[in-house]
């Protein structure tokens, strides 16, 4: 259940980044970004590869020192007390950071112990975490025998076994089957509902739309927009889109005269066309015109405006443009 953003107003800020800046040589990876995540809130970091998501998370996770900026986790300043800050922090890296030869339980238990839990606590929490990610029955299996999705879930369990106040998730569902993805979503939601501030990095806008209370749209190291999913879509001012796949394209100018209908950036596939409509009532008209213009239609689909559309609007390029990830 998604938390009502209004109800979060009174929750304390557990993750706070102020004017973070990080460059690698001449290239600016993170450019003065600032944000806050409150307890029980899931905030998405959305952006294409190379937008600075992983760098930002790595700075927050104390893996990389920022060139400038401040970080506070649960009120603890990174510069003042890095070790205390780490105790409050949970991190689920993009890569699967597990000991392949150890069992699922041993992995979770090891990180629980390193986090300072007693043996008894670590044992109980490890079982609990495995239960939460649906791996209780595979607790004693070596990691290398688990599927990719299971490893992802175990990766998540290791990051939250010590019940952190702030949980940083770096693309936790990469390469995961739908079933595991659902499991991960459920788990993250439950964690957030327990009062944990979750910062969720992804380039899947669907995950942000589904999981996050708020989202930060990152592009080239900058926060280009911030808000709830609805606010971002609204901010982009986009309309419904209609994708049509033809077996034989209709004659050119077939939709001319329909008010507000424009063709979006042409796809590489010439049989496919994307049109932006002003309202859904124009759909039947467009289909009729295409048929009359000699077009032979194979299929069509309707899309409501989403974060991807908003991202394109705000940045001028698609969310999944391939760039080098930092």
């Amino acid at each position: 259940m998604m938390t009502d953003s209004c109800s979060l107003m009174s929750f304390p800020v557990l993750i706070e980044a102020v004017l973070l800046r990080k460059s690698y040589g001449a290239r600016l990876a993170v450019d003065n970004i600032s944000f806050k995540v409150k307890a029980g809130e899931i905030v998405g970091l959305l952006g294409p590869n190379g937008a600075g998501k992983t760098t930002s998370l790595s700075i927050l996770a104390t893996l990389i020192a920022p060139d400038a900026g401040d970080i506070r986790i649960a009120g603890i300043d990174l510069r003042a007390a890095p070790n205390s800050l780490r105790r409050k922090l949970g991190f689920v890296p993009q890569s699967i950071a597990l000991y392949p030869s150890l069992s699922a339980y041993q992995n979770v238990e090891t990180f629980a112990r390193v986090h300072g839990l007693t043996r008894r606590e670590a044992d109980a929490r490890s079982i609990e975490a495995l239960q939460a990610v649906g791996l209780r029955d595979r607790a004693n299996d070596p990691v290398w025998t688990l599927s990719g999705g299971m490893k992802r879930r175990l990766n998540l369990a290791c990051g939250m076994v010590h019940r952190p106040l702030a949980l940083l998730l770096d693309e936790p569902t990469v390469g995961v089957d739908p079933q595991s993805r659902e499991g991960i979503f459920t788990t993250i939601r439950a964690v957030a509902d327990s009062g944990v501030a979750v910062l969720y990095s992804t380039h899947y806008m669907e995950e942000v739309e589904r999981m996050c209370d708020r989202a930060l749209l990152l592009d080239q190291g900058k926060v280009v927009a911030e808000g709830t999913v609805a606010q971002l879509i609204e901010l982009a001012g986009r309309h419904p889109r209609m994708e049509i796949v033809f077996k034989r394209r209709p004659l050119s100018g077939w939709y001319d005269g329909l008010p507000g209908v424009i063709e979006l950036a042409p796809a590489s596939d010439e049989s496919k066309i994307t049109l932006e409509l002003t309202n859904l009532r124009q759909v039947s008209e467009l289909l009729e015109r295409a048929h009359n213009a000699g077009g032979q239609l194979l299929e069509f689909a309707m899309h409501s405006p989403n974060l991807s559309d908003a991202f394109i609007t705000l940045t001028g390029h698609a969310l999944r443009d391939i760039t080098t990830e930092i």
Binding site: I64, R87, S101, Q106, R113, G116
Partner: protein, 570 residues
């Protein structure tokens, strides 16, 4: 930090327990290599471990006792097998064509006779130059065998001589006893003779005394009779002469009276001459007449004492008439101690000049090749396993992301380092203990007089190897780089440090280089304990140097660990 170290420490053991390849490298791989090396290169140490024997081809032209004995002696060595052939051509074929047949021995004809006669026997040994090393090893044994055979023959001869001497001594002892009996008998006879002589002496003395007494009485009688007759005659003659003397005496008295008359006359004359008396010449001097006493003596009768010869008083004759003494009987010569002389004769037979190896340090002079290879290859695999455990382990953890995750979890770099190095140090130590145990059980290696002392160099090299691996992990940035760089360094250190062959095989400059390697010092410590049989104190220096080099590695590793731990706050 200690808590982190403990968790990492425990985790390392968990990882190791799940890593079959690492376990194989820890335990089985070293044993396999040690076994192969030990059985293959044992010849370097003059020992031939293994089940397949060397074949020694033998041509026995002697066909006698010596030849048979020599072949039997060779065959007693289980590491060789004797292949008897009829002639040298046949032997040449076998030595040239068969593996593990490096040489042929030809026992010359008449060797038995010559040997028995005390002459030298020269065996001819034909070797395949290609199998020089094996042949050399067997020649060493052959040399030992020749010495043993010669020594045994000498021993037999000495034993035989001793037996003969013993027999002779017995005979001489019997003769000596008989001689002693004869001497005793002679002594008895002498005593008897002396007693008889004494008896005879007494009888002779008695008879002599009787005879003397009888003769003395007879002589006395005769002398007395003769003296009496002589006295009568002398008395008569003296009476005559006395009467004549009395007449002389009277004449002299008259003469003396005349002298007085003359003097008176002369006085009267002088008186008459008045004033010229001085012109009267003095009268001639009258001789003074004998005194009256003297003259009275002439008239005294001569009295002959009634002297009688009396021989009644014993004449001092010798108490005994000594019979001529017997020639002095010399004491019989003492019976010589034949036993000593004979024993000395037997033992002073010229011996053989031989030699026997002894360890100058009190250990066993015979070296088990595995005494070199178990610690040597143990160290090599220790280094490689440390590369795997520490070097690759760190890089893996970095690549897996677990290092970052541990860091985020609050684990300090020093704690992680301490835990990892400590665990790997103990694993390395356990590996060495395991290898030494297996070496003792499987290959019978020496653990020295104090096996516990092996822990010192084992611990020192485990520490140094762990630190060395940290250095390699810092130098190599990727997993793929760790093993080539590390293996090259580890193998070079092993080779130069004398892990694979004795350090003395190496040229001077290489031995000089070896002084800077922990392998050299740890091997020196192991050799001191295992091969030289020295006491534990001999490991103190080498182990300390090994440890010190390890400290150096550790310092470099810590300084370079920033390549691995690039995290905030590290």
């Amino acid at each position: 930090m200690l808590r982190t170290a403990w968790i990492i420490f425990r985790n390392e053991f968990r990882l190791l327990a799940k890593d079959r390849a690492a376990l194989f490298m820890l335990a089985l791989a070293p044993l396999v290599i040690i076994t192969v090396a030990g059985f293959s290169l044992g010849n370097i140490y003059g020992v031939r471990p293994g089940s397949e024997p060397y074949y020694i081809v033998v041509v026995d032209d002697d066909h006698g006792r010596f030849g048979r004995a020599f072949i039997e002696a060779i065959a007693r060595d289980h590491s060789v097998s004797v292949v008897p052939v009829a002639n040298l051509d046949e032997a040449r074929t076998i030595v040239g064509g068969r593996s593990r047949a490096p040489l042929c021995i030809v026992i010359p004809a008449k060797a038995s006779g010559e040997f028995a006669d005390g002459r030298d026997v020269h065996l001819a040994v034909y070797i395949d130059p290609v199998k020089r090393l094996e042949a050399g090893s067997i020649e060493l044994d052959l040399d030992r065998l020749c010495r043993e055979v010669t020594s045994r023959a000498h021993e037999l001869a000495r034993k035989r001589m001793t037996e003969q001497a013993s027999h002779l001594r017995d005979q001489l002892l019997v003769a000596s006893d008989r001689m002693k009996a004869a001497v005793a008998q002679l002594e008895q006879l002498r005593h008897q003779f002396e007693r008889a002589r004494d008896t005879a002496q007494s009888e002779v003395n008695a008879q002599t005394r009787q005879t003397v007494d009888r003769m003395k009485a007879e002589i006395t009688l005769r002398i007395n009779r003769s003296v009496a007759q002589s006295k009568t005659i002398v008395e008569h003659d003296l009476a005559v002469r006395r009467e004549a003397l009395i007449a002389v005496s009277r004449y002299l008295e008259q003469l003396q009276i005349s002298q007085y008359d003359f003097e008176r006359w002369l006085a009267e004359l002088k008186a008459a001459a008045g004033s010229h008396p001085s012109q009267i010449p003095p009268p001639p001097q009258w001789p003074a007449p004998p005194s009256e006493a003297q003259l009275a003596e002439l008239s005294k009768p001569i009295e002959f004492p009634n002297q009688r010869v009396d021989l009644s008083s014993p004449i001092a004759l010798p108490d005994t008439i000594l019979l001529p003494r017997l020639p002095e009987l010399q004491d019989p010569p003492s019976t010589p101690d034949f036993s000593a002389g004979i024993s000395q004769t037997a033992s002073t037979m010229p011996g053989i000049v031989g030699w026997q190896e002894h360890s100058i340090t009190g250990g066993d002079a015979k070296v088990n090749a595995f005494d070199q290879y178990v610690p040597g290859f143990g160290i090599t695999f220790l280094l490689i396993d440390m590369l795997w455990g520490v070097g690759v382990g760190l890089i893996d953890e970095r690549d897996w992301g677990t290092l970052a995750r541990l860091h985020i979890s609050g684990a300090s770099a020093s704690g992680m380092m301490l835990g990892k190095l400590t665990s790997r140090f103990l694993i390395g130590l356990a590996q060495m203990i395991l290898l030494f145990g297996a070496g003792w059980l499987l290959f019978g290696i020496s653990l020295g007089h104090n096996s516990w002392a092996l822990l010192f160099p084992a611990a020192a090299i485990s520490f140094a190897a762990a630190a060395f691996s940290l250095v390699i992990a810092c130098l190599a940035n990727t997993r793929d780089a760790v093993l080539p760089i590390g293996a090259m360094a580890a193998l070079a250190m092993s080779a130069i440090g004398g892990c694979w062959w004795p350090l003395d095989f190496e040229p001077y400059w290489m031995r000089y280089v070896a002084l800077g390697m922990p392998t050299t010092w740890s091997m020196a410590a192991f050799n001191n304990l295992m091969i030289r049989g020295l006491d534990p104190s001999s490991t103190a220096g080498p182990a300390a140097v090994t440890f010190a080099i390890g400290i150096g590695f550790l310092a470099i590793g810590i300084l370079g660990s920033s390549r691995i731990y690039r995290y905030v706050g590290q």
